[in-house]
Amino acid sequence: MEKAKDQRPDLNMSGVGQAAGGLYRSVRIDGVCTIATDVECETMDIHGIGKARGNVKADRFQCNGKMNVDGALDAKELRIDGIVRVNGPVAGERIEVNGVLTADGDCEAEKAEFRGWFTIKGLLNAGNVDIMLYGKCEAREIGGETIRVERGSSSVWKRLWQWAMPKLITRLEADVIEGDEIVLEDTTADIVRGNLVRIGKGCKIGRVEYRSDLQVHPQAKVSEQTQL
């Protein structure tokens, strides 16, 4: 496994094909391609439709198309401008999603920015969580130091289509949100726990537990609030 880094080959695929996994320096997919086993590389660029049957580990991962990962996705820098589905956990230092992310496991990062839609079936755990809502965002649990949720722009057309396409509803849904500093907008949550909590416009929160300060917008609904 300890191959010198410059000896690693590149993997470039255009068209339709399949490749074995392994150690690479850079992986680039321009067509419809499948990687059959675990893959580890420095950079991975997906411009078409990619599928990885195993785990993916990369220093930099970028997806401009569509990608399916059957195992875990682990990248120091992860940027998604397309659609990525991961059947396992997602881990990274910096995660930037401008498209759609679906993860069946947990999602961990030092810094996570979302501008789009996401579904995380486990825990979203990041030092800084920044969410701009452009569609339906779901996570079972969100935890971190600072958590910010803001409403992105929503056009008239989009609002018109919402009745037909529930994915277009710009809303964050979570069971539990826990952090030191929490700023929320358009969020539905059962429990929010934190030190400094600001509940903004359009929130529906079952229960807020806060330590030092809580502000609730007049257009938000909080059923129960307790100071610890």
């Binding site: 961990e108 030092e110 755990n125 990041a126 030092g127 935890g143 971190g144 130091e145 600072t146 069971d175 539990v176 826990e178 952090g179 030191d180 059962d190 429990i191 726990r193 934190g194 030190n195 079952g206 229960r207 537990e209 610890l228």
Partner: protein, 208 residues
């Protein structure tokens, strides 16, 4: 796992004075293992609980070591097998970590000042635990010691569990990586199931 004392996340933060952010960061850095997060539903909804003795000891260690080490260095320090710990044989007996009976049986040739590695001590500790519970006989202890000696190192510190199965008086020891699910045939009895990571923690907390 089920009969031990649990502490809720809220109470934990209150008693230790740490924040949610810290707890989540430590979890990300793998300073607190995933298995300790026990999710349960209570009347207020989902709550997370921790095994109290383990988590309190761990947080204490993190807070004490944090001053002069970065979190990443800390993660290395909290590696599952603390190699730097060595134990003298008479120490083990004196501090009641391993009973005298077991020592007499399996370490009679070693002098009182023989030094055991942590791994060896762990093997004795596990055997002693099963013996004290009355689940295992001394002869089976020999079997356990051999199994652990031969196979435990192969896990290289990954979490694993020990299964002790008996059928018609024949006993079998099994080491499996955790978390795993096993089913035994009818007629066979799963006598004991021990998480070795937990045993390591317990032994460690007894030593410090």
């Amino acid at each position: 796992m089920s009969d031990r004392e649990l502490i809720s996340k809220k109470d934990l933060l209150e008693t230790t004075g740490i924040s949610y952010g810290q707890l989540y960061r430590w979890k990300r850095k793998q300073l607190i293992p995933e298995e300790w997060f026990i999710r349960k539903s209570t009347f207020t909804g989902q709550e997370t609980f921790f095994p109290k003795d383990l988590i309190m000891a761990r947080i204490d260690r993190i807070l004490n070591m944090k001053e002069d080490l970065s979190l990443d260095e800390l993660a290395g320090k909290l590696s599952p097998l603390p190699d730097h710990i060595q134990l003298r044989k008479d120490e083990l007996v004196k501090r009641n970590i391993v009973s005298g009976v077991l020592m007499e049986r399996f370490g009679p040739r070693d002098a009182g000042d023989t030094i055991y590695s942590f791994e060896q001590a762990l093997v004795f500790y596990v055997a002693d635990r099963l013996l004290r519970n009355g689940e295992m006989s001394l002869d089976e202890a020999q079997q356990l010691l051999d199994t652990m000696k031969e196979h435990f190192g192969k896990f290289e510190g990954k979490p694993c569990e020990l299964y002790f199965i008996r059928k018609m008086g024949v006993s079998v020891f099994l080491l499996a990586s955790a978390p795993t699910e096993i089913h035994v045939e009818t007629g066979a009895k799963l006598v004991a199931r021990l998480s070795l990571s937990e045993m390591i923690e317990q032994l460690q907390s007894q030593l410090t």
